[in-house]
Symmetry: C2
Subunit: 200 residues, 2 copies
DNA sequence: GCAGCTAGTAGACACTGTCTACGCACGCTG
DNA sequence: CAGCGTGCGTAGACAGTGTCTACTAGCTGC
């Protein structure tokens, strides 16, 4: 294909594909190098450590999620703020369920550099979620929340928990295996709970 | 100490201490064996695989959490169902923040046998959460929820997300580092959101 | 034409989880 | 008491991992 794409990018490509298809367990440094067609020492020139490569892959995950948010936000431009929150919530949980490996990686602080309290990591990975969160805060404000940032935080936590517990398997155990129905129900419940029950 | 305690139990003891003090990364099979004072092959007699030992450790974590629930339930016996839910929520998130390593292990399906779709695991690990969940369902019903199981699931997801995102570091980033205040606020918000705003 | 640098190779090292062969000490049987 | 089997743990080998260190093609600019 495009063998000319620089190795640094190719490694991230390969890693992202790998984590989406096989999960975080398959993200060995040597495995990524193998699939990129280089020796196991090659990645070291661009990523000083295994964790820094995984961080770059996770960063792409957050970027993908951001794009997704932008798409649903654009698609629902002239609907109510509440419906846009709902759409974003579905996008968040949907992303997690469609790409469980990537979603897991994005929040596996033990695999990422961000855990190391090392502020050298250029834009800290955690902080790359701030724009997404800001969007939620703004929408919460437009929905009339008294403390938009608290409401947005609570809502985010709710969505995150839905995604995580569904992937973990306890929610399907409790609500039935039908994913679309169960998730929609829980996202609706989360939005209604934190933004007020009135769907109008 | 009690060197007479059977090795199987001692391994779980050591593993639980280890994951609480050093985190999941320190839970190597050989490391546990070392700290228990036996050779690296010894655990194999009781746990056929590394994951099965970790599953046993996680099972103890769930048992601890269950005890904690029982304590707060007993302590708040004659308060309103709503306050009991609140107490349980604080217990859940509190456990996660006090023992982040153990909490992480309990939900790391890639480290546990439960992921393997292998139903041989005696009482499946996931299902050991069912009694705790049932307690929440009962309380939700007594609070007047229309669909107690859905409300309980949504509430659990909310609490779980709070714990996870706080540990991950994004919630402190957004709400400030003050743990007690931030967590209490979010737990209150979750209970109020899913059980209705009226504190009575 | 040759120095210098960049990108990638290849081997070593300590470490991991799994597997297998081997002993040691105990209790039961004759 | 002698002998044996069995449960419990040891010790070594094996493939695989992430990191580190030499080393080498191939290109650049002088």
């Amino acid at each position: 294909m495009d063998q000319e794409r620089p190795l640094r990018e190719r490694l991230i490509d390969v890693g992202a594909e790998l984590v989406m298809s096989e999960g975080t367990g398959a993200l060995g440094l040597r495995e990524i190098a193998r699939r990129a067609g280089v020796s196991h020492g090659a990645p070291r020139r661009y990523f000083p450590t295994h964790h820094s490569l995984l961080s770059a892959i996770a960063r792409r995950g957050f970027a993908d999620l951001g794009e997704r948010f932008a798409q649903v936000a654009a698609g629902a431009r002239n609907s109510t703020p509440r419906d846009r929150v709902r759409a974003i919530g579905c996008a968040y949980v949907g992303y997690a369920l469609e790409h469980p490996g990537m979603f897991e990686l994005m929040f596996r602080h033990d695999l990422l550099d961000s855990a190391g309290q090392d502020p050298s990591e250029e834009p800290r990975l955690r902080e790359s979620t701030l724009p997404l969160f800001a969007l939620l805060v703004a929408l919460a404000g437009r929905c009339g929340a008294e403390e938009p940032s608290v409401t947005a935080a609570a809502l985010w936590a709710n969505l995150h928990g839905v995604a995580q517990l569904w992937l973990w398997g306890s929610l399907p155990l409790v609500l039935g295996e039908n994913r679309a129905a169960g998730v929609e129900r829980l996202v609706d419940a989360a939005v209604a709970a934190h933004l007020g029950g009135a769907p109008a």
